[in-house]
């Protein structure tokens, strides 16, 4: 769907120029004076109420048309704003931004992102040694910023009976939807989909993050970004986990497996191993601390609070 949008947008821009020379884009100074083709960093997904765009801080303000400017391309450095009752939904890079009524102009800027090889190197070198922000996410698996294994991926979220039916979708690094399932009961809190796994299998060795989006009937969306474990890493991981399996189902086995899983970013699985260890030794303070850490990384703030309250 988004791929189509990417193809349609330049077409729409050209069409706009032909039909109505006085339209928004003709007032875009950079298009008229600059002979090099503009670089779009995103587009407008939705416009409600009065919304404005200007090409630069001192540029001319233009009112956006909810119909004709839908899927309008956004350039780096442009500014947008919403008037009273206005709403804009923008897609910039792989980020969705909702702009509501405000006096301030929102600057369109494509956030730089690190090369995947550099990110991987940092991840295997070390980790954050300080306080991080807590991303409130109703999605537990895959947790934000984690790594997931294709073959065993189960989608988990905080179940909520009042949510009603939800739809789940997976998008690749460019925002293109690669899988969707509608009509899932939000109260279930989990979904294991072979079709989703099949869709993800093609991206196993592709760099870049994917996103899982859960949208409820009120069109409220929760989204997490995650990576997939590559085939090569999966083999290495299985080998390392296999060494711990040989030792039997002991506390050491669970802790060993958990530490390996944390290293690979499989936080939910690591938390599960630590929890199994806790059932064998609930008095161990160090084990409890490790479990808190893993559950925190897995985004399970409810369980983190429970464990933190224990004496």
């Amino acid at each position: 769907m988004h791929n189509m949008k990417r193809q349609v947008i330049p077409g729409l821009l050209f069409l706009n120029l032909l039909i109505c020379p006085s339209r928004t884009l003709c007032t875009d100074v950079s298009v008229q004076e600059d002979s090099t083709p503009p670089t779009y960093v995103g587009w407008i997904e939705e416009i409600r109420g009065p919304a404005y765009v200007k090409p630069s801080v001192d540029g001319k303000v233009v009112l956006l048309d909810p119909v004709r400017d839908r899927f309008r391309g956004l350039k780096d450095g442009e500014l947008v704003r919403c008037g009273p009752g206005g709403f804009l939904k923008l897609q910039v890079g792989d980020t969705t931004k909702n702009i509501k009524q405000s006096r301030d102009w929102f600057l369109i800027r494509l956030a730089p992102s690190a090369h995947p090889e550099i990110l991987k190197a940092i991840k295997s070198y070390g980790r954050l040694g300080g306080r991080d922000r807590v991303v409130p996410s109703a999605i537990l698996s895959p947790s934000p910023g984690s790594t997931a294994r294709v073959d065993s991926l189960v989608f988990r979220w905080i179940p909520n009976a009042s949510t009603g039916m939800v739809s789940l979708s997976l998008n690749d690094a460019t925002g293109r939807e690669i899988w969707r399932q509608d009509g899932v009961d939000g109260a279930l809190g989990m979904l294991a989909s072979p079709l989703a796994r099949d869709a993800l299998a093609k991206y196993r060795d592709t760099p870049g993050q994917l996103s899982l989006r859960i949208r409820n009937s009120a069109l409220e969306e929760t989204r997490v970004y995650f990576s997939l474990l590559s085939s090569r890493d999966e083999k290495t991981l299985d080998r390392e986990l296999g060494m711990w399996k040989r030792k039997g189902e002991t506390l050491l086995n669970h802790v060993g497996r958990a530490s390996v899983l944390v290293r690979y970013g499989l936080y939910a699985e690591a938390a599960s191993e630590y929890e199994k260890g806790l059932t064998l030794d609930s008095q161990s303070r160090d084990l409890r601390l490790a479990t808190i850490q893993a559950e925190s990384l897995a985004g399970n703030s409810v369980r983190v609070k429970e464990l933190s309250r224990l004496p």
Binding site: P112, A114, E117, Y125, G129, R131, P136, A290
Partner: protein, 459 residues
């Protein structure tokens, strides 16, 4: 001394076929040939033992031994620390309600900026050497975590300019991006310092360099803080400087490089005590003036330091419990200020291993040759070898462990070296006997296998 002809046959019969045996050697063995043979065998055994040591080092047993040795060395460093002279303190914000992570306008739960700037301001007024905040302030996908972040960063810059106290704010997510994105703007770049902690708990990064369109080098928090402090000018003796290394650069990937140094964890207990004394400061920053003695001329690290309240915990040598990340940064800053820890360069490490083994058989050969022309008595080479090995082992223990606070050399495989030195005489002896058997004994063994004891008729 004249040798009698009558003993010639005895000497011939007793000509040694092994080179390091405890049996008697004839006095008139060809001197040069014997020495060369001894040296050859000594080197062969040294080579075999060193290969075994290299293999052992990568096994779980060897790694465990090195880890325990490292703990022992850290323990020695801790015993020599002067608690009164601590240049670093940690201010713990874990138990402060005001500084607990709360939902922000950006959606994420972050450490509130307003009480944080109040705390930093109160501390800065007491003239510390520098202040570091162990929190990740990196923008997320180009957007500030809270709308007030630019104000907060600007306030830190103003405070720095007014009080002349350097202030550093932690980054992690944005550390590999261009400098103008570390804290969202080039203006705030001087505040940024990486709070990465390597998986190898013995080391800390001093800086990280990413190559690309805009090559950038980001300092770590401990290095940035230590730079603001007058550092010790302690250095190892001139003779040793060319064989030791304190900072090592390595490539993490083709486009990213780090410089690492060993962390001295000896001040951990002292840091913990000081953190307890500063608890009141977090709840009431106004009491900072009463804690002037604890803050003035010190490096002050602000972060979550209560185990169980923070999710960033790390293993430290000689500790039964993990420690929060802020203490790792504090110990790293302490190390850079007080004096770095050293390691032998890899080639020097190997040379030492060979040299120590060579000393064992070298002394045995020298003593044997010295007495060969002076007396009829036979040198007990094996006993002598064991005695020399034990002496070297004692010296290694004294140098490797006892003098660590002075030398600051972290020689974590010296126990394995001691094992190599101690077994050298026995292995050399065994190798000699094996060689003797291979040369002559196999014929006997073959005959015994092939022929029966009965004698047959010759036709």
């Amino acid at each position: 001394m004249k040798r009698s002809l009558g003993n010639k046959k005895k000497r011939k019969a007793a000509r040694p076929t092994d080179v390091s045996s405890t049996v008697e050697r004839p006095r008139n063995a060809r001197a040069t040939g014997t020495i060369i043979l001894h040296i050859f065998w000594g080197l062969v055994v040294t080579f075999i033992l060193l290969l075994t040591k290299e293999w052992l080092e990568v096994t779980p047993i060897g790694e465990r031994l090195k880890s325990n040795t490292y703990d022992l060395l850290q323990e020695r460093l801790s015993s020599a620390i002067n608690n009164e002279d601590l240049p670093v303190v940690v201010v713990d914000i874990s138990e402060s309600d005001a500084l607990k992570q709360k939902a922000s306008d950006g959606g994420d739960a972050v450490t509130p900026r307003e009480p944080l700037i109040k705390l930093i301001t109160a501390i800065a007024k007491q003239k510390p050497r520098a202040i570091g905040v162990d929190v990740d302030f990196s923008p997320e996908q180009g957007r500030y975590l809270t709308r007030t972040d630019p104000e907060f960063f600007a306030a830190c810059l103003r405070l720095r300019d007014v009080t002349n106290v350097p202030i550093f704010l932690g980054i992690f997510r944005s550390q590999t991006l261009p400098p103008d994105t570390w804290l969202g703007s080039r203006d705030y770049e001087p505040l940024a310092a990486s709070i990465v902690v390597p998986n190898d708990f013995k080391k800390m990064a001093q800086w990280m360099q990413v190559y690309g369109d805009t090559p950038r080098k980001v300092p770590t928090l401990s290095a940035a803080l230590a730079d603001a402090f007058y550092k010790s000018d302690w250095q190892p003796p001139r003779l040793l400087r060319w064989v030791l290394v304190s900072t090592e650069e390595k490539k993490l990937a083709p486009r990213i490089k780090v410089a690492e140094f060993l962390i001295d964890y000896s001040p951990l207990d002292a840091l913990d005590k000081e953190t307890m004394r500063l608890k009141a400061l977090v709840k009431q920053p106004e009491v900072a003036s009463e804690l002037r003695e604890e803050l003035t001329d010190k490096i002050v690290l602000i972060g979550g330091a209560t185990l169980g309240k923070e999710s960033d915990t790390f293993v430290a040598p000689n500790r039964s419990s993990p420690i929060p990340g802020v203490y790792v940064h504090a110990c790293a800053a302490y190390t850079l200020i007080k004096g770095p820890l050293y390691e032998w360069k890899p080639t020097i490490r190997l040379t030492l291993d060979i040299l120590l083994s060579a000393i064992v058989f070298g002394i045995v050969i020298a003593v044997t040759e010295y007495y060969r022309l002076r007396t009829d008595r036979i040198v007990a080479t094996r006993r002598l070898g064991v005695a020399v090995a034990l002496s070297i082992a004692c010296v290694l223990v004294v140098v490797g462990v006892g003098l660590v606070p002075r030398t600051r050399i972290m020689w974590d495989d010296f126990l394995l070296v001691i094992v190599v030195v101690l077994v050298h005489p026995s292995v050399e002896d065994g190798a000699g006997k094996l060689w003797a058997w291979l040369r002559n004994g196999w014929r006997l063994a073959w005959r015994k296998l092939v022929f029966s004891d009965k004698k047959g008729n010759v036709k």
